[in-house]
């Protein structure tokens, strides 16, 4: 009854592992978001390989990869694209912006103005952008991995909490461990491993998998387990604003795709527990006194996981 990793997913993970040593967990979470049609917010310092990972992911999928480096002077049209008058054809011609790609790295999203930020976020939410009255559908798959730098606050525009809700998951990458870093050095010494990555699946296959993820069975008891957790965040003593129903939906979807990746057609409480912190933590607004006490949202979620009873009996409907 042991469930094997979905073979295609496993291949993608192996690919990513070639460039990102020891970051399998981050890669898995990214895939969870990708498969359930969500987006990822990476909170980390520069240089730990965020770009490498996204590029490896894009290459494995054979998807086109765009990168947007957010700066304070970036305009919304720099993200979405712009219509330019073509004197030859005597007409406006639409020049698509980087958001029209399939896998997008939105680097240092907190460094740009809220106006530009919302252009991206609107695109993420609607899966389409409207420029000069014309609505342009975004790519499929459409996967945004946004990063924000947690240490630099000077001249940044932190994303409002409500906007964070748009990301399915928030995660940290962290530095590689000592031996892993040495291994990394050896790998990049001669050639860049990213160049050697071959696509392991078609985009069509990805869309197919995304459809299948939706079919993964979520038992009534699991749903109530998720809701129970969400309720706990709303009543927790350290929490000012708890998880919205959108958060519960996000956790369910993420659990579905996690279960699918692990070759199962139903969700286990383990999936929910594993993802709860990544899905919920950026959706909580802690009370200021809790912040002063140094309480982290992740700790609150851990506590909630500990006290929420896991369903071990058939739910009586």
């Amino acid at each position: 009854m042991n469930h094997k990793m979905n073979p295609v997913v496993e291949q993608v993970l192996i690919n990513i592992d070639k460039v990102m040593i020891g970051k399998r967990e981050v890669a898995e979470l990214s895939l969870v978001a990708l498969l359930s049609g969500g987006h990822v917010l990476l909170e980390d310092v520069p240089g730990v390989g965020k770009t490498m990972m996204v590029r490896a992911l894009a290459k494995s999928l054979g998807a086109n990869f765009r990168r947007i480096q957010f700066t304070p002077d970036l305009l919304p049209s720099d993200v979405t694209g712009v219509s330019i008058y073509n004197p030859k054809e005597m007409a406006f011609e639409f020049r698509p912006g980087p958001i029209m790609g399939q896998i997008i790295l939105a680097d240092e999203i907190n460094r740009t103005s809220p106006k530009t930020q919302s252009a991206l976020l609107e695109g993420m939410e609607e899966k389409s952008v409207t420029i000069d009255g014309v609505t342009h559908q975004l790519g499929s798959p459409f996967f945004v991995m946004a990063t924000q730098n947690p240490i630099e606050y000077e001249g940044t525009y932190p994303l409002p909490e409500a906007q964070l809700d748009r990301f399915l998951l928030k995660m940290r990458m962290g530095y590689p461990e000592g031996t892993e870093e040495i291994e990394l050095l050896s790998r990049v010494q001669s050639a860049l491993p990213i160049e050697e990555i071959q696509p392991v699946m078609e985009l069509e296959q990805l869309r197919d998998m995304q459809a299948k993820v939706k079919e993964v069975y979520v038992d009534h008891s699991i749903k109530s387990y998720i809701v129970h957790m969400a309720e706990q965040t709303r009543n927790h003593k350290h929490v000012y604003l708890g998880v919205s129903p959108r958060g519960s939906i996000a956790l369910m979807k993420a659990s579905q795709s996690y279960a699918f990746m692990h070759g199962r057609d139903y969700v286990r409480p383990d999936d929910v527990q594993y993802l709860a912190s990544a899905v919920f933590s950026h959706r909580l607004i802690l009370k200021s006194e809790a912040k002063f006490e140094g309480v982290k949202a992740e700790q609150v979620i851990e506590k909630i996981i500990d006290v929420t009873p896991v369903p071990v009996q058939k739910a009586v409907k």
């Binding site: 069975y217 527990q273 896991v310």
Partner: protein
Amino acid sequence: MMKRFSTLVLYLFGFLLIWEWIRPLEQLTDTGNVWVFLLFLCIALAMDFLKWHWVIRFVINGAIIFFSLMYIYFLDQYGLIGSFPMMIQELFDNFLTMLQAQWTAITDMFRTLLFFILLWLMSYLIQYWLIQRRQIFIFFFMTLVYITVLDTFTPYNAEMAIIRTVICGFLMMGILAFYRQLEKEDIETKPSKLSKWMIPLSGLVLISSLIAFAAPKADPIWPDPVPYITSFNEDSRNEEAGGVRKIGYGEDDSLLGGSFVPDDTLVFVAKTEDPHYWKVETKDVYTGKGWELSEEDRGSQFFASGEEVPLESFSENENVVVEERVSNVQMNRARPQIVYPLGIKSFQSENIPFELNEALEKFSIRYAEDSLMPTYDVIFNEPTYSVNALNTVNNDNHGLDSAFYERYTQLPEDLPDRVRELAEEIVAGHDNWFNQIREIEGYFARSGFVYSQRDVAVPGPDEDYVDQFLFDTKLGYCDNFSTAMIVLARSAGIPTRWVKGFTEGERTNGNELTVGTYDITNNNAHSWVEAYFPGVGWIPFEPTTGFSNPVEYEFDLDEETTPNNAEETETPEREESPDEAETTEQTETASSTFSLTKLWDSVKEAVQQHWKKIILIIIVLAFIGYLTYIKRGKWLPYFYIWTYKHRNNDRDFEKAYLVLLHEFSRFGMKRKQGQTLHSFAKEVDRLLGHQQMSQLTASYEAYLYSGKQEKGIWKRNKELWENLIKATIA
């Protein structure tokens, strides 16, 4: 059709097997009317076989029980209409008795009811074994054990019973084995197949039984039945008794012997000037095992209150000086038997018609339906016997009618000679009956016979009750002493008879009053001896050591022949237990109405009386419970394994898995409520050093969360589950 027929055969054999359980009752206990039970069993099984609706069966069975009880106990006495209230009353009385835990006081009727219920259960069990389980071995085996034990330890001769049971049992097992095979392999029954199986089977069973029957067998090592098996309770003979034909005073004394337990239930209260014994009935034929009546029931004579009783106790001449006395009796419960003193002249009561059974010299009354507890005065002559007249009688000059003389000197033909020799030895040197019988009366005290209600032997089939007492055991109670005295006296040629009744009881009011009030309980039930002297009449004698029955004699002779009761050691009255029937007759409640307060009162009373015992029992039970709980690790897993072994429903997987979690928690591996089963399973496996919990949990998770119903998932995982739960055995 064929299948129906063989089911019928199975039922028939089942009936025969139960019959083997009932058969010995008739011989060994005083169960009568066995055919009623058989009929009931027959009908119950037949209805089972016909698969009638259970409600109908219940009603019919209930009705049969009800009318059988009525038929056995009430119908002749109270008529069809009058029986109902009596029955209901008796049922309530018995419930109260049960609440007071006076098990020995439960009446025959109630025992019969319980026996019926037992049979009812048996009929269900037979049906269950035969039709559901298709196994009869245990019942068959138990039947064999039962029969062999009875054959070994009681007079019951089970030679044929063993053969019948063996044939029945093996045939049944054969047929059932056949059906088990058919059902296992899912084969249709065809008549040809059945006969192919049945003919060799019956042949084999019959031939082997024949060979076993005809084969030479070694003689038993022990005498059969094993002698001196004493029972703890004389009542045990009656335990299963159901069919005694008359309610009330147990008249069956045909098998004496055995121990019994005291019972202080109040029977009646007497107000009398001089304490005296109370007679109930007399018997004349000694069988070697007990007492019977020589003649058929002569019917009854009726007489009214105040009318002279047609019974003559002693001659009205100068040899007996009589003084008229009056005693008052207040019965504690409606019972037809009347107690009376020797020399009874008449009864005074409020319009109750009295009845005399002449053969037994036993009085009884009939109650109107709503009659109160009877109170009556007895007017009687207290005799003073002239010893002078008594001294003149001997074997040569008694001049009694030969039929009368033979009746009261009757002895069984197979009475051992040594009893007669002993009688001659005792009376040697005395030339008249009176001195002779005085010698016999005092013999027991002189010779160190011991009074005891416990460890009293029951004579074997080839043994004489009196012989056993006189020469082997020398230990017994009133029945032993009185019967032995009569046998000795009759051996010496003195006409005597056996009297049953009660001793004078215990005085409850002060000694300064002339009229004493005496409580007579079942412990005062007693038996003694009356000897007949021509020209005088019946004179009571008391051979039982420790008892005395004051009889007045006229001291008109020299002291050598003067009988003096004061010579006898006036030991305090010992607690005497009832004759078995008395016990069964009494309950403490005298009321004819039943109410909840009454019930509550009796419960309260019982609690007050036995609170020490109750607390002790509670403490012991609590301690046992505590130990069982502490040691549950030793037995609980087995219990669970046993419980779930035969459950194959997939829903039981869930229950079983939760039980397993619970057991692990008891074992010290507790799952935290936020811990998933998967991670818990890994933890358990790490501790136990294998993968079984993870395997089982994976199945369980699939069962629980996947929304799919995989058939047989529990069956597949049962072994895994068993292994894991065994791991929790401390």
